[in-house]
């Protein structure tokens, strides 16, 4: 309420509101039913404490509880939550539905853990998680907001990558650079999934989940490539095993699919098509370099990282997201700084070196802050 009063006062001083309009707004806000935040806060605290108490009681006597009782109670809770979720879907409270849906998803995951523990089931964690993702995919499609699909797609990406890396590394002796194949392919799958799943109304929430992961996943891949190319490697195996060949083929097919998607999407302007095609090409070259390149000067992967980040920054110029553009420019600045320290490493440890390094950081950061808007406007003009 204090915020509204302060804001309306500022608007009135700027001539945006008259005194009478301000009074009407404040009067309207005053008449709204208030929310008893303090009461809700204490009630929530009470419920949490009771819940923690119940969990502590169960945990302390866990071994004494028979397996059948554990299983039956678990199924009763899951079934009860499912029924409650359905009941909420018939009411209009989307936030309540979403919260209970998320809790139900966590409960299903906990149930898989319980069954695994009770029956001493073997296997890798990713097998259980991928089965969980399969079971709960239709449920995630019913989400109204993005945090449930974000959680589900995050699990699928992380453990899908792990499953693929395990498939490649059949006997545990594979070169760590081959793990880049699933990492690279995962980003392409996210991009394709975010487009294809968007075509169908039922899977749009999943599409949103994949779409939100594209940028963070892309930055992680660029970081992984940068780190991988910074290491000297000895190959113990060549690219001849079946899983590796299959994975490389899948990766190539995915790259072609994304390229075709860029070329055939009618809504993209020719400038954007050129931008995304160049991004994909450099991404693919970076991937080949990361997997099979040896004894590469560190300036090459560093340059490719900067070019990729620059192209992603241009994408944010095109879609008019200035904050994301600023973030990418800052990351480019950081990468330049790392190059500086790599080149002048030993000098930077001296007193003079530290002073120069500090000045570089200050000047660099100031230049970036002052010129971000100018760079963005220039890029916008260039991409018109």
């Amino acid at each position: 309420m204090a915020n509204i009063k302060k804001l309306t006062m500022q608007w009135q001083e700027q001539g945006l509101l008259s005194h009478e309009q301000r009074e009407k707004i404040i009067d309207y806000e005053n008449r709204k039913p208030g929310t008893a935040w303090v009461l809700y806060g204490f009630l929530t605290l009470g419920v949490l404490v009771v819940g923690i108490g119940i969990i502590a009681l169960i945990a302390a006597n866990w071994d004494l509880i028979p397996k059948t009782v554990k299983l039956c109670n678990d199924f009763v809770i899951v079934a009860g939550l499912s029924f409650y979720t359905y009941w909420l879907s018939q009411r209009c409270s989307k936030i309540a539905y979403e919260s209970v849906l998320f809790f139900l998803l966590l409960m299903i995951l906990a149930s898989i853990g319980l069954i695994t523990q009770i029956y001493q089931l073997g296997g890798e964690p990713y097998q259980a998680i991928l089965m969980y993702c399969l079971m709960t995919a239709p449920l995630v499609c019913t989400a109204n907001f993005s945090w449930v699909p974000l959680y589900w797609t995050g699990l699928l990406i992380i453990f899908g990558n792990q499953a693929w890396m395990d498939y490649i590394d059949i006997n545990g002796w594979g070169s760590p650079n081959y793990y880049l194949i699933p990492l690279f392919s995962g980003l392409l799958i996210c991009v394709i999934a975010s487009r294809v799943l968007h075509w169908f109304l039922a899977t749009r929430s999943l599409a949103e989940g994949f779409k939100h992961w594209v940028l963070p996943y892309g930055l992680i891949v660029i970081l992984a490539m940068d780190l991988a190319n910074g290491e000297s490697r000895n190959f113990s195996h060549t690219l001849t095993s079946t899983p590796l060949l299959f994975s490389a083929t899948v990766n190539l097919v995915l790259t072609i699919a994304v390229a075709a998607g860029i070329a055939l999407t009618p809504l993209l302007s020719s400038t954007r098509k050129a931008l995304y095609s160049l991004l994909l090409l450099i991404y693919f070259c970076y991937e080949i370099l990361g997997i099979v390149g040896q004894h590469i000067p560190s300036v090459v992967p560093a340059s490719l990282t900067i070019i990729l980040l620059g192209l992603i920054a241009l994408h944010f110029v095109v879609i008019e997201k200035p904050r994301m553009f600023s973030l990418l420019i800052s990351l480019i600045g950081l990468r330049f700084l790392i190059i500086y320290f790599q080149v002048f490493g030993s000098l930077a440890r001296t007193g003079v070196g530290l002073i120069i390094s500090g000045l570089v950081i200050i000047v660099g950061a100031t230049l970036i802050a002052k010129n971000t808007d100018r760079i963005r406007r220039f890029a916008q003009e260039m991409l018109k």
Partner: protein, 164 residues
Amino acid sequence: MTKKKYGLIFALVLPIIGLLAMVINAQIRLWTGTTVVLPIEGYDPRSLLSGHYLAYRLVNTDNVCKSPTAAQANDVYLCLEQKNNQWVATTYLVRTLPQCTLYIKGKCERTNFMAGIERYYVPEQKARSLEAALRQHQGAIELQVDKHGKATVRDLVIVNPQDN
């Protein structure tokens, strides 16, 4: 009822069916097959994802994964024979179904033969004493093995329990 409601009911029921299928599958595996008890040796790592469990391996399987052929194979078969009323691991075959009475199917991960049975969840307060028993070679694992070589853990057996 609208299509959307049917869809939601299907989405809510599917995980319950999935969980039930897991339980039924695990229970069927325990009811069928042959019960064998094999000696084990092991250690107790902690894993954030898998909870508190004992990790071990079957005794006398050191040579299984040492050959280059076995090291790259995804299907390694460990033969089991009954001697003096006890089951013992005798030979192993790679990529070929053996003719022995009973066998466990697994694979080689680096130099270890793994059949998906190398983990047993234990109560936290008993973990240290069980670990000590395993280190003194007092442990055995009771398995249910089906005719396709799939082994399921039934119980952990300690010959001289130290936690009483």
